[in-house]
């Protein structure tokens, strides 16, 4: 297929070039054909680093050219193509078709394991939802960094729940449908309770009753169902 591109590969031959460009000899008198003008505008718009105004185009095209008309033709030619000829202010430029914008992104996916802090926080939210940050900290026994919860929210496993109707009206956190999907759970209630964890050997016997979810009446309905999971 390279053979078709002799004009690019051909050495220094000024003659060959002149032959290819029928306008070179007589452009002083006759304007190039519209097809030729279109080629010219196409090349200029392609190679220029910023949008080009009609005036600039006219200045650069040989005498007698009609830049505006060439633009109309060229614009039509690129309709529905991968790049469009668009108008930016009073200038023109080629731009990627909007529907293909996603091709301009090189996506790389890196699979990363959640940090221990994140998964602990997530577990507490899942088991105790709706739960405030202060409660998470109390259960974990260490403070929870802002970033940890932000990350869980960013990956859409956790979202904000209703504000707790206590002084300061703290926000609560709950797990999302995405979380349930990822962990293959129908609802947070399906999370194995302490009893099952113990039966599975994941939980030591000596540990007493898990403090139940907060008894805030507002949240009670949401939290309902979880309470029983923690009963011995």
């Amino acid at each position: 297929m390279s053979d078709d591109f002799d004009d690019l590969i051909d050495p220094d031959d000024a003659e060959a070039r002149a032959a290819h460009d029928p306008m070179a000899q007589d452009s002083l008198f006759d304007a190039p054909t519209m097809a030729e003008q279109e080629r010219m505008v196409e090349a200029i718009l392609f190679a220029t680093a910023e949008p080009v105004t009609l005036k600039e185009l006219s200045d650069r095209l040989p005498h007698g050219c009609d830049a505006a008309e060439a633009i109309v033709h060229l614009r039509k030619r690129y309709e529905g193509r991968g790049v469009h000829l668009i108008k930016v202010g009073d200038a023109y430029a080629f731009r990627t078709a909007a529907d293909l914008a996603y091709l301009m992104q090189k996506e790389t996916v890196e699979v990363r394991k959640l940090s221990r802090a994140a998964i602990e926080t997530l577990a507490i939210i899942a088991y105790h939802q709706p739960v405030t940050r202060a409660e998470i900290e109390e259960i974990r026994g260490v403070s929870v960094s802002r970033g940890t919860i932000d990350l869980l929210i960013e990956i859409e496993w956790v979202r904000l729940g209703r504000r707790r109707m206590t002084p300061g009206r703290p926000v609560t956190f709950v797990v999302t449908q995405t979380f349930l999907d990822h962990f293959g759970l129908e609802s947070a209630r399906d999370l194995p309770g302490i009893k099952e964890l113990r039966a599975a050997g994941l939980l030591d016997n000596r540990i007493g009753q898990v403090p139940g979810p907060t008894s805030d009446p507002e949240d009670q309905d949401e939290a309902e169902g979880q309470t029983e999971m923690f009963e011995d």
């Binding site: 690019l8 590969i9 051909d10 050495p11 220094d12 090349a43 392609f46 190679a47 220029t48 680093a49 910023e50 430029a93 080629f94 731009r95 990627t96 301009m104 992104q105 090189k106 996506e107 790389t108 996916v109 890196e110 699979v111 990363r112 394991k113 959640l114 221990r116 994140a118 998964i119 602990e120 997530l122 577990a123 507490i124 899942a126 088991y127 259960i139 974990r140 026994g141 990350l151 990956i155 990822h182 962990f183 293959g184 759970l185 999370l191 194995p192 302490i194 964890l197 599975a200 994941l202 939980l203 030591d204 000596r206 540990i207 898990v210």
Partner: protein, 269 residues
């Protein structure tokens, strides 16, 4: 090679005026030359023939004249020019003398052919370089996209965790005490020093036989671990006091309560 017929046509001293002038012209801008091969190539042009048909013998003479001239003009020539001169003088003698069958190595003709090849190859590369530079060049004759769109590198970090991670993690929080790293639990250790101090204070008031267990400090007598620690420390402390003659100890039988009392002879504490 085709230059062989020419080899013996010229005498070594048969140097034309034009050749002498050419050599002198070369001298003037000797710095402009890129080594002896470049000089040879330039000299070869005076022969006005195809490089394939060039007379190496003539060329050698021209070159030697060039070096001779430089010496007369006391122009310092770089070493490689002189090496080439020596080699060409040797080549010239080989080409002029009838071949000695006993001699090893390449013949004069072979050496001449090699030099001709090198000159031809250098000329070919120069022509190729000129052709290359005369090509349409990017940024001069044809152009790349002037307004490239940057390809955004989107890095998606996909976090994973499975249900087991979640459950184990939760279990770990709920059973944190069991997962504490091993440390000596000072909280439930009652040291002998502590017991000694306490007993020194109390022993003054106990003139009668008193059960050792009554010396256990408050709060150390219910929790089994604490009780064990306190008992051991108090017992050790009482032995220490007995040793220093401050108390007497008795035990009526095995596993019977251990009793102690202040030794009467000792009044000061």
């Amino acid at each position: 090679m085709s230059q062989t017929p020419n080899l013996f046509q010229r005498d070594a001293n048969d140097q034309t005026v034009s050749e002498r002038l050419a050599a002198e012209a070369l001298i003037i801008d000797v710095d402009g030359f890129e080594g002896p091969l470049d000089v040879l190539l330039t000299l070869s042009r005076t022969q006005k023939v195809d490089l394939l048909k060039i007379s190496i013998l003539t060329l050698a003479q021209q070159y030697l004249a060039f070096v001779e001239r430089a010496k007369q003009l006391r122009i310092e020539l770089a070493a490689d020019y002189l090496v080439m001169a020596a080699w060409l003088a040797f080549l010239k003698s080989r080409l002029l003398l009838p071949p000695d069958p006993t001699e090893e190595g390449p013949t004069g003709e072979e050496l001449a052919a090699q030099l001709a090849f090198q000159l031809e190859r250098l000329q070919a590369m120069r022509d190729a370089a000129a052709q290359l530079m005369a090509r349409d060049q990017l940024g001069r004759d044809f152009f790349a996209r002037g307004l490239p769109e940057t390809v955004e590198r989107v890095k998606h970090v996909k976090y994973t965790a499975n249900l087991l991670d979640l459950m184990q993690s939760y279990s770990r929080i709920r059973t944190r005490d069991e997962f504490r790293p091993f440390v000596m639990d000072r909280e439930n250790v009652y040291t002998m020093e502590q017991a000694l101090e306490r007993m020194r204070d109390l022993i003054g008031f106990a003139g009668d036989w008193t059960d050792l267990s009554s010396y256990l400090p408050q709060g150390w007598d219910t929790h089994p671990a604490r009780r064990r620690a306190a008992t051991a420390a108090t017992f050790a402390a009482s032995l220490e006091l007995a040793k220093s003659g401050k108390v007497e100890i008795r035990q009526s039988e095995t596993f019977a309560p251990i009793e102690l009392r202040r030794k009467d002879s000792t009044h000061e504490r």
